[in-house]
């Protein structure tokens, strides 16, 4: 009862706070914290659903009209949640360490980028390019299929590999895709090389709201579908076979799990989520180039999965949210604040910050602090924020 009242009050007050101080990152973080609280608090399921639903469907778009940047953050969080959920299947459930996951994201992004921009005409020497913007929607499925196919293609040669060896091969695969994107501007210009592709068509949105809000809803809808698909896969014989494979590959096979099929299915499902979000990402950015798909992105998504809790759907969602918000807001905000202190010439311990050498620019601390957070997290909570909990079932045997 108290928890329910607290949750409602927390969400209400913090969202009002965002309306009052639309420029304050701190207040927006408190709003996000209130959603997290509503998610974990011991409150009835319907109240949780109502609070989170209201926050995501009503409050967030309204806040977005005050400060468009927050909507941008929310949209990016959505994209990374989908990526983390996809990688969670491969790494968290099936136990196949994939360090080149962003390759599938790239494959999806380039499939729409080429056909949804004048690049298609360059590639095919004419034709109806860019395709009409409604083609974006069929391309969600095309991007999904192409990425899933790429996943199988990667899966086939690495079926025999495990652990470290698999990690190295997938790392190489990720780099191959990026290098291909970087160099396939000759002899045939497919990807336009390092210059990237622009302008990429944006989808027509049927809603009578601003484009950013509409796009936010589109991402939200796709994430929702991905969560449902993910849960259904996990809670079935397929998901159980993946987990068995992670626990003991040999025993899983001896119990009748066909390893080849189970692994390929894991790679393909994980890749397909990334493929869909790649299409969305290309449309959102309007411009993509190989720099968007570096090794660091793969590691970033992996950090989300591990930070959130391997093999756990809520974990992947929270992990993606925390890391994205950290990168886009907390650390940025911190370095801005430090910069202000520096520019104002504040003295700390008798040292004037204005005299700070350029090598110690506050902006350079961002990565360091992020790394520090990861290290501390792994020392003090190695199982992640939301570790996978075994589903308790009524077996009818008590």
């Amino acid at each position: 009862m108290i928890a329910a009242a607290t949750a409602v009050a927390f969400v209400a007050v913090s969202s009002a706070g965002v309306a009052l101080f639309p420029r304050s990152i701190l207040v927006f973080l408190i709003f996000q914290g209130s959603l997290l609280y509503a998610y974990v608090a011991r409150i009835p399921g319907w109240l949780r659903a109502t609070l989170l639903g209201a926050a995501l469907l009503v409050l967030m778009p309204v806040i977005g009209t005050y400060n468009g940047y927050y909507l941008e953050v929310a949209t990016q969080v959505g994209i990374f949640v989908a990526l983390a959920l996809g990688l969670n299947i491969v790494v968290g459930l099936a136990g196949l360490l994939d360090l080149g996951y962003v390759a599938f994201f790239a494959v999806g992004a380039y499939s729409w980028a080429i056909f949804g921009s004048p690049q298609g005409a360059v590639l095919f020497g004419g034709g109806p390019f860019p395709l009409p913007s409604w083609w974006f929607y069929p391309f969600l499925f095309i991007g999904l299929s192409v990425a899933a196919g790429t996943g199988v293609l990667l899966g086939l040669p690495v079926l025999r590999l495990r652990g470290d060896y698999l990690a190295i091969v997938t790392l190489g695969f990720g780099e191959v895709i990026r290098v291909l994107a970087n160099n396939l501007d000759k002899p045939i210009n497919v990807t336009n090389g390092p210059r990237g592709i622009t302008p990429i068509a944006r989808p027509p949105l049927p809603l009578e709201v601003s484009y950013a809000v509409g796009f936010y809803f589109l991402v939200l809808l796709i994430v929702l579908i991905i969560v449902v698909v993910n849960r259904r896969l996990e809670d079935s014989h397929i998901g159980r076979a993946w987990e068995a494979m992670r626990e003991d590959q040999l025993a899983a096979q001896a119990m009748g799990v066909p390893l080849v099929r189970a692994k390929l299915l894991a790679f393909a499902s994980g890749a397909s989520f990334a493929g869909v979000m790649g299409v969305v990402f290309a449309a959102k950015q309007i411009f993509i180039n190989p720099e968007s798909f570096t090794f660091l992105e793969s590691i970033g998504v992996l950090a989300m999965v591990i930070l959130g809790g391997m093999g756990s759907i809520p974990g992947a969602i929270i992990g993606a949210t925390v890391v994205t918000v950290l990168n886009l807001q907390v650390l940025k905000g911190l370095s801005l604040w430090l910069n202000e202190l520096k520019n104002a010439g504040v003295t700390i311990f008798g040292y004037n910050l204005a005299g700070l050498p350029t090598q110690l620019e506050p902006a350079k601390y961002e990565r360091m602090i992020f790394g520090l957070i990861l290290v501390l997290m792994m020392i003090f909570r190695p199982q992640g924020i939301f570790p996978a909990r075994r589903r308790q079932r009524e077996l009818g045997d008590r």
């Binding site: 079935s236 987990e243 626990e247 003991d248 119990m255 589903r391």
Partner: protein, 261 residues
């Protein structure tokens, strides 16, 4: 000639070491035991039977079908399943989930059923969970379905592994030292359970065992391996009296000075 399972002239070498030398083994029903000193090749034989190793020579047939070259999961789907000497449960999954994985080869649902989650899926899934509960009850793990396998005591882990193997609806069950680490009375209880499985489910069981009292009491037939070769086969009584068996277990001097019982 055994109709259910028949292995003839099975040979397996690792580099220069001959682990199995033209071993023959067959079973039609009941409980057969494979015994022998450490390193005699018992587990290697199991690994050949279940497709983990490919034999260098010989044939292995199950219900008239050759198993050589088949993958372990294909062999399980045909109706043979095994347990492991060092327990190999899915440690972080619950007992019920372990049993459910054992049913994998029998589940006739496609990915479309899983994604659609229609009545077909839900009814099948409900049936699977009911069967899992029944199997757990059969091995005296009633009410432990939601326990994570890792947290179960040793004896219960052994029984859970048995339930997981039974979940694949095998006609032939291969158990690698199921009583290892058990007290004499625990072992006796397990053997009574195996006997019941044979009588009630009609499953044939092959045991690898070290516990001689258990072997002699429960087995219909005993096969003795030593240094990768079959040195004796027959009823427990015959095998116990066999001079080569005594020699293999006790050494040459002991058998020479030992008077017949």
């Amino acid at each position: 000639m055994s109709a259910l399972f028949e292995a003839v002239d099975v040979t397996k070498t690792f580099g220069g070491l001959t682990a199995l030398q033209r071993v023959a083994f067959g079973i039609d029903g009941g409980i057969a035991s494979i015994i022998g000193p450490n390193g005699a090749g018992k587990t290697t034989l199991f690994n050949v039977f279940t497709g983990l190793y490919r034999p260098d020579g010989g044939t292995v047939t199950f219900r008239g079908r050759s198993l050589v070259g088949l993958r372990p999961d294909e062999i399980t789907a045909l109706g043979m399943c095994r347990t492991f000497q060092n327990i190999r449960l899915f440690a972080n999954m619950t007992a019920a989930e372990n049993v459910l994985v054992g049913m994998h080869a029998r589940i006739r649902l496609g990915i479309r059923d899983v994604l659609a989650r229609g009545t077909r899926f839900r009814e099948t899934e409900r049936g699977l969970w009911q069967r899992a509960a029944a199997l757990l009850e059969r091995v005296a793990l009633r009410g432990k379905g939601n326990e994570v396998a890792r947290n179960l005591p040793y004896g219960e882990q052994r029984r859970l592994e048995l339930a997981r193997a039974l979940a694949s609806e095998p006609a032939l069950l291969l158990l690698d030292e199921p009583t290892a680490g058990m007290t004499q009375s625990e072992a006796a209880t397990l053997m009574a359970l195996l006997r019941r499985l044979v009588n009630e489910l009609g499953v044939a069981i092959v045991l690898i065992e070290h516990n001689m009292r258990v072997v002699m009491e429960v087995s219909d037939r005993v096969t003795v391996l030593d240094h990768g070769e079959k040195i004796a086969e027959g009823s427990p009584r015959d095998v116990q009296a066999n001079a080569r068996v005594i020699e293999a277990y006790l050494g040459r001097r002991a058998s020479a000075t030992r008077t017949a019982p």
